[in-house]
């Protein structure tokens, strides 16, 4: 797991239907290595579905998802080893301690020294003090950090976060923002979904807006953030009217 192939996520004609509803409608998107992308859109626009399809949790109804040129459908386990996924649920066993949870995931990801990996991950997220407490007993903020530690424990090259800012206070949000900034190196891909326009435009380097399962806006975040914010809000208003 040392050698990292040139990354890049590619969605080609990806559709995902839930019954009669199309959560994603023939999406074509390329996300090269080094991207730090904010994915926005109204509720039900397909943001979470897009992340789940990349993470291998949901199989597209049609189209293909490739990471590093390898199709998800063909080499799921190998690709999942490179992906870290954070959802709004913690994916932690509430009755085990943080340490036990982290060690479990480290083992699951095939890391050679799970105990150390767990400690390192906890240190990085500043939850070392909470390691031996059951997750149930931790505060919400701490729990979220442990969840992050879980997602990052295997040092993934693709980091997907589904609404990570929801429910965070200012301090926690600023801290998360800083962490994501650190993680968004040229070797990685960081993608997150969020609702806060300000946050989306101060940090991420690219903005993807989904509407009705399609890509409505795809632009690099440069100086014209005010314009971009306006465009985004217009899109939301138009959708609300429909």
């Amino acid at each position: 797991m040392e050698r990292r192939p040139a990354l890049g996520i590619r969605l080609k004609g990806v559709s995902k239907a839930f019954g009669a509803q199309l959560a994603l409608a023939s999406v074509d998107v390329e996300i090269p290595q080094g991207s730090y992308v904010a994915v926005m859109g109204a509720n039900g626009a397909g943001k979470t579905t897009m992340l789940k399809v990349i993470a291998g949790l949901a199989a597209p109804t049609s189209g293909s998802v490739t990471i590093a040129g390898i199709e998800m459908r063909k080499a799921g386990p190998r690709l999942r080893a490179q992906v870290g996924f954070v959802s709004h649920e913690t994916m932690l066993y509430a009755d085990l301690t943080a340490r036990e949870n982290l060690r479990f995931h480290a083992k699951l990801f095939g890391l050679p020294r799970p105990r150390e990996a767990a400690e390192r991950a906890a240190e990085r997220l500043d939850v070392g003090h909470a390691l031996d407490k059951p997750v149930r007993a931790l505060s919400r903020g701490t729990r979220q950090r442990v969840a992050l530690a879980r997602a990052l424990i295997h040092d993934p090259s693709v980091i997907l976060l589904d609404e990570p800012y929801t429910g965070l206070d200012e301090a926690a949000a600023a801290s998360l923002s800083g962490l994501l900034e650190e993680l968004a190196t040229p070797e990685r891909v960081v993608m997150l979904t969020l609702h806060d326009v300000v946050r989306a435009l101060s940090g991420p380097r690219r903005l993807l807006v989904l509407s009705g399962g399609r890509v409505a806006l795809d632009q690099p975040v440069d100086g014209s953030t005010d314009e971009m914010a306006e465009t985004y809000l217009d899109l939301l208003r138009a959708e609300a009217r429909r």
């Binding site: 239907a17 839930f18 019954g19 009669a20 509803q21 199309l22 109804t61």
Partner: protein, 243 residues
């Protein structure tokens, strides 16, 4: 995905060539064939086929019981094929076929379970004999029911189709094992009531075949009707979503 389906009143005639027009003529075909062959079957069952020496008049229920059983089993085989095809291709049409066949299969299997005791009581004095075939049908009926109940518990159509497909496959593969176990169990607990499966006289055989044909037509007719209902339902779903 917009449709104009709701602009047309349901049941209105549609020009030939439009999707939905073809099945209508097939529905008519199966329906007509059923209507023709059913009275023929009844006539043959009561007038043409000879009365059984041992069992008397009650034996005539055989001509309903056995074809029902055959179709009940066939319907489940269709569920099996539909389930595998759905998992392999992902096309919802296969799930529609499986769901329709399961619902109709329950009807036929229920008929088997009702006609069985109706036959058994006058002939052997008991409503239920642990006859391996009848017992297997009881199990089949239960598996069908669990399939239908499962479908009722999953609101999202594609997930529902996947779950149902897995149950459909497991259930069908179970049937031969159920039959084997029912046979062995019965051989260890023999009852005095044995269903003779000796040679059938020609007339009985012919009547039986007519019965099988009748019930097959009836199955195909019900399938055609049920599939149409399924298609209409899907259209309503789509229309609601795109509003």
């Amino acid at each position: 995905m917009k449709t104009d389906a709701l602009q047309q009143p349901v049941g209105e005639l549609r020009p030939v060539g439009e999707p939905g027009a073809e099945p209508r003529s097939r529905r008519r075909l199966w329906g007509t064939l059923t209507l023709i062959s059913f009275p023929v079957l009844l006539a043959m069952a009561f007038l043409y086929a000879p009365e059984d020496a041992n069992q008397g008049a009650a034996q005539r229920i055989f001509y309903i019981h056995v074809p029902s059983a055959w179709i009940g089993f066939l319907a489940f085989a269709v569920v099996f094929v539909g389930s595998i095809a759905f998992l392999a291709t992902g096309k919802r049409r296969w799930d529609d076929v499986a769901a329709a066949s399961a619902e109709i299969g329950v009807i036929f299997t229920t008929a088997v379970l009702i006609t069985g005791p109706l036959w058994g009581r006058p002939v052997w004095g008991v409503y239920w004999t642990w006859d391996p075939r009848l017992t297997s049908f009881l199990m089949l009926w239960l598996i069908y029911l669990s399939y239908i109940v499962l479908r009722g518990y999953v609101p999202e159509p594609i997930r529902r189709a996947k779950f149902a497909a897995v149950l459909g496959i497991v259930g069908f593969l179970d049937v031969p094992i159920v039959y084997l176990s029912a046979r062995w169990w019965r051989s260890e607990h023999p009852t005095q009531f044995v269903v003779e499966s000796g040679d059938l006289p020609m007339q009985m055989l012919v009547t039986l075949l007519v019965g099988v044909a009748t019930f097959t037509f009836f199955y195909l007719y019900l399938m055609a009707v049920r599939l149409r209902v399924g298609r209409l339902r899907a259209r309503v779903e789509e229309a609601e979503v795109s509003r």
